[in-house]
Point group: C2
Chain length 284, copies 2
């Protein structure tokens, strides 16, 4: 499908992607680069990696697909850095959790170059970070959102869609702005709530944690995610996240009022609405 | 350990308990009763059940341990119903998620009888309900909270502790009031938040659900719990739950202010506190 794919930033997502590409034979060569020398050393000799290069420019030089898998704030700076080295008509994408800012700035960065940037957001991952947790099946049956701009070529969209679909992903395509509104609700708000609940419980008696059951563990699992990565995500999507928090607060206020007023019908209606939504979420 | 154990209400918890008791040989006989004839019929012929009786009185008549596994609002009414049939010195417990009201009323109900009520709250279960989902290992390595009153005999506490420990549970003992404060925070608040998040997302674009990743699925899993059961739990523990919501709202307000004020240090501090708490929760 591609001659050479470069993965910049082989962490959980990047290394999983390299494994999956190799396993499914989606590229002749997989090349990686990582900012940290220790990470580059760790990539050497892995069977999912044909070459590890010292600079991002060298790593992208002969690739027809470049996937930037670094934290969201470094995606555009890295794109600017590799621009001079990008091959003619190269396709560049990312796996960042925010899109408006990145896609707008990426277009400006590549202005006048034949390479195309098209944003991707594979809804895969976990609270774990690092290539140690990478696995080839990470993307299977998960959703992937492409965020083309008005002038993104149909060819680039088709090619990148086919790539993610080859990894077993279920593709959708929306504008970067719509993407940010959606993930503020279905990903960033849940993360922030899990983190807030954990942070609140941290202010209570420390021994209570030993009594917790599976419910609390599941509800707060994603709070274990990397604070540095999530700070960047929440800040890049600040306005949409704030709107989602406001909406949630209103819903919580309603639930609280129902309890406060001993309004049994309202309490059960709230619980039933929540259950109906949750029961219809996709299983895996 | 016991000659005969009666399980009233063989749903997920009750049937799992019967299975575990049989598997570990903790009683010579296990007797059940269920309010619904269909459930009684389903119990017949199960290898974890020696007899199914038509009335709760008949079911408890010769038992030295009775475990009431019905929804919280029916525990005390059922105790009043079985009182005349309870054996001399019988030990009665429950598996309800609230304790103050139940333990106080249970003491009054058994006044003048040689039987003892001692509340239990095994922190096991799931969003699934019904004996179809029962399993003998449900209680292993989970926490179990006993809620003795000041005048509960040391013998009853020792006997019931040994029983739950024989099922692999990790025992704690606190007053019913303290129990309700604790579970308002570590169980009822998480449930209410999962339900509120699901209910809020139900008001948004219906197609967004297809894009959700594992984070949303985990965060909202318990929202699938039975609304009827949870309405009773939230209402019985109303005051403590309202206090826990207030505390959570303040924490959420802080997080929101940090984002609103572009206070990066405060944002990362919030995320780090949440992670630190979550990383220290017991694994299973």
């Amino acid at each position: 499908m591609f001659q050479q794919i470069t993965i910049l930033g082989p962490g959980l997502l990047g290394a999983s992607l390299a494994m999956a590409v190799k396993e499914r034979g989606l590229a002749t060569r997989v090349v990686t680069w990582s900012r940290r020398p220790e990470s580059r050393a760790k990539c050497l000799g892995r069977n999912w990696c044909d070459a590890v290069l010292e600079t991002p420019g060298e790593a992208v030089a002969d690739s027809d697909l470049v996937v930037i898998c670094t934290p969201v704030q470094t995606i555009v700076p890295l794109l600017a850095q590799i621009r001079p080295a990008l091959a003619e008509n190269a396709l560049v994408t990312d796996v960042g959790s925010t899109k408006s800012l990145i896609c707008r700035e990426a277009r400006n960065t590549l202005e006048g170059h034949s390479a195309t940037f098209l944003g991707s957001h594979p809804m895969a991952g976990s609270e774990q970070a690092g290539m140690e947790h990478a696995r080839a099946d990470l993307f299977e049956k998960a959703a992937c959102i492409l965020t083309p701009l008005d002038d993104t070529s149909a060819q680039a969209i088709a090619k990148l869609s086919a790539f993610w679909e080859s990894l077993g992903m279920i593709l959708s395509s929306v504008s970067p702005e719509k993407h940010d509104e959606i993930v503020a609700h279905i990903s960033h708000l849940p993360h922030l709530l899990a983190s807030t609940l954990s942070g609140y419980l941290a202010t209570q008696d420390d021994t209570w944690r030993n009594l917790a059951g599976g419910g609390l563990r599941d509800t707060t699992r994603i709070a274990s995610g990397d604070p540095g990565l999530w700070k960047q995500i929440l800040e890049q999507n600040r306005d949409e996240v704030l709107r989602a928090i406001d909406g949630f607060e209103q819903e919580l206020h309603q639930f609280k009022a129902a309890l406060l007023n001993d309004d049994s019908l309202a309490v059960i209606t709230q619980l039933e609405r929540g259950k109906a939504y949750r029961d219809r979420l996709r299983k895996s």
